[in-house]
């Protein structure tokens, strides 16, 4: 059969196994979905363990975090360095503007937001 589709025998077996597993899961889903005695008061949806694992993973992300040189470098480069640079530029711009105003180099009409 495999040479009909141009794939190896091993791959063909794998695809068949996957299709079987998918069919099993689909039957299980439909069985739960159409169950007339379901207790919808417990949860309003079909419980999917994979979904629950995903949610638990997201909720415990902070607890599972382990600092290592890669993550520390990431934190410094993306958070500390931009804040320091931004702060440096803002401080300089405000200082220069203040100096110019105090030294009288900026005419009154060029001072923006003076009535703020």
């Amino acid at each position: 059969m495999a040479e009909k589709y141009g794939i190896s025998e091993g791959q063909f077996q794998l695809i068949q196994k996957q299709a079987e597993r998918r069919a099993e899961m689909r039957q299980e889903f439909l069985k739960q979905r159409t169950n007339p005695f379901k207790h919808a008061a417990e949860a309003g949806y079909i419980f999917d363990p994979a979904h629950q694992k995903f949610l638990s993973m997201k909720v415990t992300q902070f607890e599972r975090f382990q600092p290592n040189p890669r993550t520390s470098l990431f934190g410094v480069l993306t958070i500390i360095v931009p804040m320091l640079t931004y702060g440096y530029f803002i401080w300089n711009e405000r200082n220069d503007r203040e100096q110019k105003i105090r030294a009288g180099e900026m005419p009154y009409r060029d001072r923006l937001f003076k009535l703020c």
Binding site: F29, R33, K38, A40, E42, A43, G44, Y45, I46, D48, H51, F54, L55, K58, V59, T78, I79, P82, M83, Y86, G87, F89, I90, W91, E93, R94, L112, F113, C116
Partner: protein, 446 residues
């Protein structure tokens, strides 16, 4: 002013009578109207009594507190139906309201601190007592210890101020000025943690998500604003050093706000997304207050009121979904327009207000804050552009993901929106979108 305190104290025994759930809610509604009748002077403190007074800022925040308490009871009907200690719940709400009312109305800085801390205990009880998951214990601890750790220096700072000035009245703070860096740090750290600012914001997503609907509503609406209110009062005494050092907090909160708005896109939990969006809004508010402009102060006040209503409304919406599906996951709460098209309308209104679309009060607040920050330094334009853009982005993401598309095929059953829920949302939305017609009530101060 004492009359409201008396009304709250005497509502407490009422909570323990049988079948008084909706009666207490009615009394709170009457309190809202009574409070609205209080005539205030917008440029000074008025209605002075023993140690209480009413300023424009206090007035708005007290009104918001009573309004949100009223809506909290409306949102918690499930509690009453399941008889989940509803009398203690009502007592807790009235206690919290009393603490908040006193926080905003006392004129004495030490008393303000006392009630600022006092409001933490009923909040902790709301989170741990009526929350849903076991993670709520850790959330309560985070809330308590973050705030307590930062507010001990505040207490010491207040004692220092009292020993220097021998006076704690808020109105007289403007005659003093302290250039002491250590005092500056001590006094404002507590409020920055409460706001919260970017590096110390970790308690907020935990506390908001793990609390029940009433806990989330009061946290989002009022507890964050305690920090803003405190900053508005305390910065008067720290003006000179503030002018030199406030840029640190502006930079941290603006860049932090940008990162938080990006993080909103990674959330899979609806309440978590709304909690992170609260941090983003508060980061702009901190930026505005720290610029020490007139526009900054007033824009922050307007944004505090409007964010209180908007965020509280969003938590109500996510709770409406949670009551039906017992899950806050976005994977399950999608395609809701197929089940409740009328509620889609309210999702849209709340989320459009959240992204500061006209004609909401958030727009007014953000315009004033953008004006104040850009007048302070044109470089803030970059981070403000990014924050505004991504803020619109995640609001739209939440709306389109929860409402549009196919619903999750694994859902067993659903029920339509109930009138009480629509009423609650309308009461959140109506002040938010109508107050912009009379925004001069909030934009003229001292």
């Amino acid at each position: 002013m004492m009359k409201f305190m008396m009304m709250m104290i005497f509502m407490m025994p009422l909570c323990f009578k049988k079948n008084m759930f909706w009666m207490v809610q009615n009394m709170l509604m009457m309190m809202v109207f009574l409070f609205m009748n209080l005539s205030i002077n917008i440029i000074s403190f008025c209605n002075l009594s023993y140690m209480m007074g009413c300023d424009l800022i206090s007035y708005g925040l007290i009104l918001l507190s009573i309004w949100i308490s009223f809506l909290m009871i409306m949102a918690s009907e499930n509690l009453m139906k399941k008889k989940n200690y509803e009398s203690f719940f009502l007592f807790n709400i009235i206690m919290l309201l009393l603490m908040l009312y006193l926080t905003f109305s006392v004129m004495n800085l030490f008393m303000f601190y006392l009630f600022f801390e006092g409001s933490l205990i009923p909040t902790l009880m709301l989170i741990i007592g009526w929350g849903y998951q076991p993670e709520r214990i850790q959330a309560g601890l985070y809330l308590l210890f973050y705030t307590l750790f930062a507010s001990l220096p505040l207490l010491l700072g207040i004692f220092y101020l009292y020993s220097e000035m021998n006076c704690m009245m808020m109105y007289f703070l403007k005659f003093y000025n302290y250039e002491f860096v250590f005092l500056y740090m001590c006094l404002i750290l507590a409020f920055l943690v409460k706001m919260p600012m970017y590096f110390v914001h970790l308690w907020l997503p935990k506390a908001h998500v793990e609390a029940s609907i009433s806990g989330s509503m009061i946290l989002a609406a009022i507890m964050l604003k305690l920090g803003g209110y405190g900053l508005l009062r305390i910065l008067i005494i720290l003006q000179k050093i503030g002018l030199k050092m406030n840029f640190i907090w502006v930079v941290i909160s603006l860049i932090g706000g940008f990162y938080i708005s990006l993080k909103c896109f990674c959330q899979i939990d609806m309440k978590s997304l709304i909690a992170y969006s609260s941090v983003c809004h508060m980061s702009i508010v901190i930026g505005g207050i720290m610029t020490m402009n007139y526009w900054g102060f007033l824009g922050s006040y307007v944004l505090m009121i409007s964010h209180g209503l908007c965020s509280s409304g969003l938590f109500c919406l996510s709770n409406i979904n949670y009551e039906r599906l017992s899950s806050r996951s976005l994977f399950l709460n999608k395609g809701m327009m197929n089940f409740m098209p009328s509620l889609s309308f309210w999702w849209f209104l709340m989320l459009s207000s959240n992204m500061a679309a006209p004609p909401s009060l958030n727009l007014m607040g953000e315009i004033s804050l953008i004006n104040s920050l850009i007048s302070w330094s044109w470089m803030t334009m970059i981070s403000l552009m990014l924050i505004s853009f991504f803020s619109a982005g995640y609001s739209l993401y939440l709306y389109s993901f929860t409402q549009h598309g196919n619903y999750n095929i694994g859902i067993y059953s659903f029920y339509m929106g109930v009138s009480r829920e629509y009423l609650m949302l309308m009461l959140h939305w109506l002040p938010l979108n109508l107050l912009i017609m009379k925004v001069d009530y909030s934009m003229i101060w001292f």
